[in-house]
Subunit: 300 residues, 2 copies
Amino acid sequence: MTKGQLDTYLASRRREIDAALGRFLGPAAGRPASLTRAMRYAVLGPGKRLRPVLALAAAEAVAGPRGRRQALGPGCAIEMVHAYSLAHDDLPAMDDDDMRRGRPSLHVKFDEATAILAGDALLTDAFALVTGLARRAPASRVLGVVREIAGAAGSTGMVGGQIEDLAQQGRARGRIAVVRRIHDRKTGALLRASVRVGAVAAGADVRALRYLTAYGEAFGLAFQIADDILDEVADVRTLGKPGGGDREAGKATYPAVLGLEGARAEVHRVAAQGLRAIARFGTRAAPLDALLRHVVDRAA
Amino acid sequence: MTKGQLDTYLASRRREIDAALGRFLGPAAGRPASLTRAMRYAVLGPGKRLRPVLALAAAEAVAGPRGRRQALGPGCAIEMVHAYSLAHDDLPAMDDDDMRRGRPSLHVKFDEATAILAGDALLTDAFALVTGLARRAPASRVLGVVREIAGAAGSTGMVGGQIEDLAQQGRARGRIAVVRRIHDRKTGALLRASVRVGAVAAGADVRALRYLTAYGEAFGLAFQIADDILDEVADVRTLGKPGGGDREAGKATYPAVLGLEGARAEVHRVAAQGLRAIARFGTRAAPLDALLRHVVDRAA
């Protein structure tokens, strides 16, 4: 897939995902209008929709267009979980970020109570969305999707990573093993789950799921190292903040430990593993392949 | 069931529930110890465990002791969801309560960030707990439990009720219809779901589920009216706050609209409906029967 083909693919998938999210978050009997507005603001603003795109692409690798349709609901549920986590992370008691994706963050646009509750609602409704899919899919498969999301987002996944991240802040330069463990849960777990949820929703067998899990693992890690590299080399214009900020803040980053070139080599090494894992799916995995190569390009 | 028999029943069920909650919230690989401590503090403190008790009692009505064992996990999941909602409701941005059940509330004992995240983790892990039950129960039944909890707790249930409750505060005396709608979602939905989850977990058929739903509906409403009555008549010693506080705060309460005797008559009328709904289960429903009669006695 060329860069142009990937862009076309992404634009088309994002349209599909945003339309579905708009439906799932439409007015609902018994949901106060102010809550609906806050939930939509948190989810439907600008964003790459990377997680649902990964879910759709993984489902396509397993079962083509039929798989993609089956993964649309689960992918949207993951995006709602992602949006909830950003809304809560931005709260004054947490990272205290006033801006998110170039707009006021949720608690600034509305208020703190609404931001907490809209986050709670997005997390809970994500599970309600998934259970609604049982009308068209086997219960065991739908339950598998619930299990993936709950496992990746809960106390041993995303929330655990965020607690440890807050505890690390302000400490002397952390060890790379600690940073890797935090990011593995805080970011990696949900990226991996996005791929796995798409695969499970499309009915992947044990073997296919194992290969796609290896891809998801590699994707999450490459994504994180690339982010560290971007932070190191980007100038103010690109990221909107001074480069190297993470390193100056005393966080252990991959470039700080491996050097810039070492970190780039690590992205290549990890990505190569991920690409090998999906080679067996042939052209059906072309979008997954292009998505991971795109992460490598960002780090170059 | 006499009062003494009910007390013995409650004590025995609470022991069973607390032991199970202690296991579910034991140390877990990948969960930071500070998060485990906060989650246990939120769930395992003093408390009536009313919601899991209702789940167990409903399951007993459907399938005796076997049903009760099947409802233990789902009942604990509901208690975790209840504990998360209390932790978030107590936050400074919400009801700003420093005390809960005679102890410092979660954000006072730990800090705000921990209280938000421990709440998030309890909600998410409740779903993980339920999916883990699929090893021993049919997937469709386990999925039914997930659906009940997500529906009762989400944007059209508990969270929606809390948003509307916050919006009502400080307004002139609300209409009874509004208050009833808020409480129906904020408190009633999860009580009703507790009964339904127990029934579903024990394999209730459509008819049994309908009768138990009517019971759960009646229980939630009677519970709320009894609470209003208690608030109206209790002195400082009993409730730890001046009686009639809700009415003075401008909230529409049942006694304010119906008068004290009218409200008591309403509790009797609603409870009688609930008791009729479960008569067909015979002695297996004795605990459900005694629990609802206990609510009526509290209001006397």
